[in-house]
Amino acid sequence: MTDTDLALPLPAMPFIKVEPNGVARLEFQKCTACSAFSLETNRIACGKCGARGSFVAHQPETTTGTLHSYSIVHRSFPGVAVPFVSAIVDMDNGPSLKGNLRGIAQDPESISLGMAVNVVLDDALNRKDDQGNSYVSHFFEPVAAK
């Protein structure tokens, strides 16, 4: 193997961390004063309570959450493949995220608000930056009924 084969994907969002072994995980910031979550890593104060320098790293214990809202997008900005499901998910042990809901039929009959979903990390639809780097992004998938 050459060095280039070992190139790790880069995180598409600041709350995604890629370990040296290539495993990606979620890591948010949490305010020690009021428990508010932030998706940004370089915060200097809390938007909820105003505390300064109060944020610490928070790794959610689970990746589960519930579907809060969604839209099935049929027309988007030029060049963007449609349709896709744009969704808002409230994580059980973390903040709310916006992302694509996948692994489900793209029609309103199949999507129930409040349904249980998992937050998964995966290749960012083969989107690369100017240097050809790969990225890892977050997606939502329905929790399979047991």
Partner: protein, 377 residues
């Protein structure tokens, strides 16, 4: 503090004017508002000029209609830009510093595509991390409401049917066309549940208002004057899903509450409302945000026809942003123009009978909301 009156107000017919500059569009609205007030540009002491996509538009407008060195403030506050210009003009008069102030909002949008600001990342995020388009953003706001109170695609579509119906009585609307329910629901789906007829149109437009002090209003004669009973502006307080999911509700609730408290007017006293129906999914939410009905009652209010022309509290008699068009910075003043036109009894076929008090509302994503309550002087 001085009471503040609208002495003159006007809007151009919204549409497509590729051969005109934003300054020229603004100049037409300004001259219309000055004529309406019986004043000239030489009477104006300061200007608040709103425009989102062009800078220093206030000076460019004065260069068209008469520039005499007065202070000009250019401002941008998303879709609440025009209403924010009016609020700043209102404050300038209330302090006693000015007697005659111009507020103007202009936007030229012909040829612009779908609006929205994708999230910052090294790679394109649209379609990867959901959608940041405006139709999807407001669809998600509507679906949040649907999850809470069971509103349906058909309920949301009915908003568009109503507002497009109203537009057939408004010669200044871009689109003046009946759209039956089947047509709205069967139109191209943009972002479920918003179809094409449930999305406001990108148009060119301008609107302007001349605000005056009580002293000046009395000097001009109160005949057609409209008194500003409340001018309120709020921003979005911290909320856990914001800004992943922009919160269009809290700022509206805060500004409405402020406006009711400031004026001592109760929502039940309102004769008409012009609210920010940038997408059909938004209107039902604002019925509750503006306290036109109780929580969870918006669908009933709509389905009972209370917000339709001839109803108890007609909403968006102008045709709303859905039919009138939505030239970002002009919209807030155009909403005030519609309310003023009814209070003056000059709304023709769509006139709300014996209208005395009206409310105008806008939301700027990002997020802010402005609410004005107007009363016939």
């Amino acid at each position: 503090m001085s009471d503040v009156y609208i002495a003159g107000i006007d809007m151009i017919k919204f549409g497509r004017y590729p051969d005109k500059t934003p300054a020229l569009l603004g100049a037409e609205a300004v001259l219309g508002a000055l004529d309406d007030a019986g004043l000239t540009i030489k009477d104006v002491q300061t200007v608040y000029s709103g425009c989102v996509f062009n800078s220093m538009n206030g000076q460019k407008i004065l260069q068209q209609v008469g520039a005499f060195g007065i202070p000009v403030t250019n401002l941008s506050n998303a879709c609440a830009t025009g209403a924010t210009a009016v609020r700043d003009a209102w404050m300038a008069i209330r302090t006693g510093d000015y007697d005659v102030v111009l507020a103007v909002g202009v936007e030229q949008m012909t040829g612009m595509g779908m609006l929205g600001g994708p999230r910052a990342s090294a790679i394109p995020t649209e379609g990867l991390m959901g959608s940041a388009s405006m139709p999807a953003t407001f669809a998600e706001a509507g679906m949040e409401y649907a999850a809470k109170y069971g509103a349906t695609f058909e309920n949301f579509a009915s908003v568009a049917v109503k507002n497009h119906h109203h537009s057939t009585f408004n010669p200044k609307a871009m689109l003046q066309k009946e759209t039956p329910l089947e047509m709205v629901m069967g139109a191209e789906m943009i972002a479920y549940p918003n179809t094409k007829f449930m999305c406001s149109i990108n148009v060119d437009g301008a609107a302007a208002a001349i605000l005056v002090s009580e002293r000046k209003a009395k000097e001009l004669g109160l005949g057609r004057a409209v008194r500003i009973r409340a001018s309120a502006l709020a921003s979005d307080p911290w909320q856990e899903r914001n800004p992943q999911m922009p919160d269009i509700n809290s700022a509206t609730r805060l500004s409405a509450q402020q406006a009711y408290e400031m004026s001592g007017i109760d929502p039940s006293d309102l004769d008409l409302v012009e609210l920010h129906d940038c997408f059909a999914t938004a209107e039902l939410l604002h019925y509750e945000n503006l306290q036109l009905c109780g929580e969870g009652e918006a669908v009933r209010l709509l389905e009972d026809g209370e917000t339709t022309i001839g109803g108890r509290i007609p909403v968006n008699l102008s045709g709303g942003l859905l039919s009138k068009g939505h030239p970002i910075a002009a919209t807030g003043i155009a909403n005030l123009y519609e309310v003023c036109t009814h209070l003056r009894g000059e709304a023709g076929q769509r006139q709300q009978p014996s209208a005395k008090i009206g409310l105008a509302h806008v939301v700027g994503l990002g997020t802010c909301s402005a609410v004005h309550i107007l009363e016939k002087a």
